[in-house]
Symmetry: C2
Subunit: 227 residues, 2 copies
DNA sequence: GTCTATAAATCGATAGAC
DNA sequence: GTCTATCGATTTATAGAC
């Protein structure tokens, strides 16, 4: 291995280590993450970190992109095995929830309150849409296989408004299914955030997974996914 | 008016003013709110604020309780006029959404990521459950009037697990309806947060209110609310 | 690429005069 | 109940030696 390659590898490892420590700091500092505190934990000078991340926001962006990709990877793995569309829909939801339970602060970073003063760059929107697109893919395949109940439209004007969005976003889905996919995705995020952010701590902690599945089945049913 | 009463009134007004300025600061600082910055804006010494709020967290608690009560008041007003249960359910949801759009940072404070290091005291849980209880009340009345579709239980063991919770929480509702109420509430929070926190900025901003109503109608349908 | 040193701020909370 | 002053910390970011 050439010296240049070695340097590159060492640099990549250092970058990873900084992000790992930064992720730990999310737990205590939340979104107001401190570069210096990370550097302190790593036993290095704060100024050295700036050779890896140009600013605090750049580090934050890296963490955000990683989080989106991690949860989407988990969802992809869960949805991969052959199964009915409904089972794959539910597997996706469970995988997202379980990743969130294991990484609550990363979840908060991407689906919680926006970080004050932070503006997400364009690089984040690709990873950010992966889970939604996975749900859309599942629903699209079900649709193609005739496994989706086609019901009445709620409003024709609303559907026609949705049509151009559907085209650019999930071209294989009719607008109604696009709306249901997005609604289901919102429902997924809402259920996970509610559990994680501690709405109703005392009330439903008997069988959280069961209640979550109940909700996500409702979302699938709304989307017309019956099998 | 006695001197004591005057003092009490002046103190109440000062307290309100501090909270008003603090609410403004939520916009820029988010949850990491600075007592000193609030004091600076008010033209007073930071130490003076401590005569009104014993700590930064106490001020935060006051803001949180106010926010819960404000959104619940708006929901109560919207649900008050006589109408079908479905219409009152939807009116509640729209009122919550509209309050959130007008007060995004207060919404983030109560339904967004937990504030790092902040532990909510008991005083917050009463106000925090008001909107949920309102939805439950609406569904309960519909149930009593025979306007709720009673469908198959998803799982008997899950329902029996939910029973004791239902008893202490919404005694006039069968467990299934309790689950649907909570699910609907989570869906409401999820839809509002998704819109507010900027998931999918580009995709559904054509008719956000319409799409929101579509989602909340779905939640009501899941709950068996047909009219 | 890592270090020391530094600039120019910020913060929560308290002490004590008035 | 408001002020000044202070303690003891924190932060982002940069400059410059090595």
């Amino acid at each position: 291995m050439s010296a240049a390659n070695l340097r590159a590898r060492v640099r990549a490892e250092m970058t990873e280590e900084i992000k790992t420590v930064a992720r730990r700091h999310l737990a205590t500092d939340g979104a107001n993450l401190s570069l210096r505190a990370v550097a302190r934990d790593l036993g290095m000078a704060s100024s050295a970190v700036y050779r890896y991340f140009a600013s605090r926001d750049d580090l934050l962006t890296a963490l955000i992109i990683d989080a989106y990709n991690e949860v989407a990877d988990a969802a992809d793995r869960a949805a991969a095995p052959p199964a009915t569309p409904l089972d794959r829909w539910l597997a996706t939801c469970h995988a997202v929830r379980e990743w969130a339970l294991e990484n609550p602060h990363q979840w908060a970073l991407i689906y919680g309150s926006p970080v004050p003063g932070y503006q997400a760059p364009q690089d984040t929107i690709g990873p950010a849409t992966r889970v939604l697109l996975l749900l859309g893919k599942t629903l699209g395949e079900a649709y193609r296989d005739g496994l989706v109940d086609v019901r009445e439209p709620i409003g024709a004007s609303f559907e026609s408004e949705l049509a151009p969005i559907a085209e650019s976003f999930m071209p294989d889905l009719p607008p109604r299914a696009v709306a249901d996919t997005i609604a289901g995705f919102f429902q997924l995020c809402g259920a996970v955030s509610a559990e994680l952010f501690g709405q109703l701590n005392k009330s439903v902690d008997e069988d959280r997974r069961g209640f979550f599945e109940y909700q996500m089945t409702g979302a699938a049913t709304t989307a017309g996914l019956t099998a």
